[in-house]
Assembly symmetry: C2
Homo-oligomer: 414 residues x 2
Amino acid sequence: MDIKQKIEKANEEAVRRLTSGDPVLVDVAPAGEVIPGLENKMITHSGPPIEWGRMCGAQQGAIIGMVIYEGWAEGPEEARAKLEKGEIRLEPNHHHHAVGPMAGTISPSAPVWVVENRAFGNRAFCRQVEGRQQFGEFSKDALDGLRLWRDIWAPTLREALQKMGGLELNPIIIQALQMGDELHNRHSASSSLFANRMAIAISEADVLKERALPTLQYLAGHNLLFLGLAMACGKAITDPVMDIEYSTIVTAMARNGTDFGIRVSGLGDEWFTAPAPVVDGLFLPGYSADDAGFDMGDSAIAETVGWGAFTIGGAPGILTLVGGTPEEALEYTREMRKITSATHPTYRMPALGFAGTSVGIDIRKVVQTNVSPIIDTAIAHKDPGYPIIGAGLVRAPIECFKQALIAFSQKYNT
Amino acid sequence: MDIKQKIEKANEEAVRRLTSGDPVLVDVAPAGEVIPGLENKMITHSGPPIEWGRMCGAQQGAIIGMVIYEGWAEGPEEARAKLEKGEIRLEPNHHHHAVGPMAGTISPSAPVWVVENRAFGNRAFCRQVEGRQQFGEFSKDALDGLRLWRDIWAPTLREALQKMGGLELNPIIIQALQMGDELHNRHSASSSLFANRMAIAISEADVLKERALPTLQYLAGHNLLFLGLAMACGKAITDPVMDIEYSTIVTAMARNGTDFGIRVSGLGDEWFTAPAPVVDGLFLPGYSADDAGFDMGDSAIAETVGWGAFTIGGAPGILTLVGGTPEEALEYTREMRKITSATHPTYRMPALGFAGTSVGIDIRKVVQTNVSPIIDTAIAHKDPGYPIIGAGLVRAPIECFKQALIAFSQKYNT
């Protein structure tokens, strides 16, 4: 086989794995109990590796929040001092089979979604989705949302899941894609369908009403609830795609608000980074582009598996959030076919005649076509201490793909 | 004012009423308790008035089913004999502020959705949605579904609703239209959202688990559940539009499988009928167009208020059921603007750039443009005794609109 054939064969295997993922929600458990290598006095974060001093304002704010939440500091000044002295270890989620939206911070006592990919036996983890602490806010109110998750909602879900023995997520994903979700910033359908299933499970598990009722209210009232599940699914689906020799398929896109990084199957766990770009978006009242930090979050794992902006043509409901017209949204989705290797056999979009979602971003195609993956995403403030300020669209920096292609050429002598 | 001005003014008022409906689910109650004039030994049916002998096979089958269900006969032969002798009174749902999908049969002990239009104080009613008895099947299995509704599901919903004091339905309708429902044959989103609201209400009402759990399972497992609610909403919204002098706006489209009938605001409760047309559709395995009955059901109340095929462009997920392409669906929705008077201020379709749904079918515009309202609908068998056999698209017969326009000219000397 010549090199081109070896690449094609490797990418076929990558796509086979990408399209045969079978994600099952098996637990909602404290991170320290389930995430390998997540130790005491450690916080994991979104994006490629980064030290405290280079972190953007929102990620610093979110980490300060987690330090207070864990009781490792009384207030922000003490937290900041400890972080500056290196007393809290900071590592990327992606180095622990985990992902987190926006700042992405995970600390040991915070419960995470645990998703098992039953086709390959691996597990992945994602933190709770909310609109404040993960955006950099560390007020008592912001942290109280984390405490309710830890003390009420997550334990109730855990109890119900244990009774039901896990919940297959592909049926929800397949349906939600036919109901206008793109599974990155629009989760109205998936969250609602998930809440339906959990309401039955909570009833079956005879959870005490004092915990059952607030959990049902939380589930039915949180229209981005499923984002955490979708991200854990994305990570669970992509992890088995890592380390296929000769494959040029992207296995991760992640941003920490300072750097944008990608990983490529045939290049193992190496990160190829470029400065995190500006998001072109719409802002909540009181905020503008001047307030915005740069692109942030592990949530681009959604686009890595073909959701998010890759399927935005099937999700026009999201346009009030991120801007643009239905026609532009359809065009983005069609454009992504140019840089991907296959269409998914069961994840389908009615608005595109039930075409499969585009999967398997090929770094060669990105560089050859000069078409960069498009991502829809929320926007955090540039400074610590704020909740969500907006949402929009952004392109992955093409430099990451060029660097990766050069590294690929060097490794495989192409 | 000349006649044209009088018509315009009347139609403005009709549209004002059509677009200001505020439907609230207030009860799920035995029909005989709540539907005015529904007496013992009476069954109401879909479509314009029709006697037993002219009824189509599916409607006869459904009525036989209800006679057995009520215990007025032991089996189909006895039921048929009583019906032929006129011992059971048959009247249209529409004459009782009620609607029913397909055969539409309502009998006194069958619980119905009770929707109050809080903007006008009127109430409307719709029967349970299921895929067997209302299509003409009268087997024990088919009737057992009605019994579970009567004995378990409906009483549980009633108990929960009484505790919560009613549920506003516009928030669900608005959201569902942004999630790919068209609210006639696709109710995936509305049913799921409704199920979550009721799960909370059932928990709050402390319903016994032996009834709560099967009801939660019923709610979460029935993706056409909301059709009955949407139809009751449609009827509750259109009833206040009846009897506006000079208005040419359609207030009902309904079919009994033999006749297709419409009512017009300025023409009161008169029906204008033509033979029910053939539905152009897709069939379930084992059935074909040769088996199909003609167009049937009160469910075209959905199109009367601007849902169903009028919004099918925003609901491409339905196309696996009824056939066609996303582009054709968008074109149907745009075409309906030609025969309607306004767009709805809050019922919006993301796929059409968040345009409002088209409301207020004007019989003048239908006749002038020769564009007839399009309806998406399920298909019943031509003979009694069968469940659902397919679904598709159909045009309202233009003769109904021509007759109505002639009657209008005669009444108002135009």
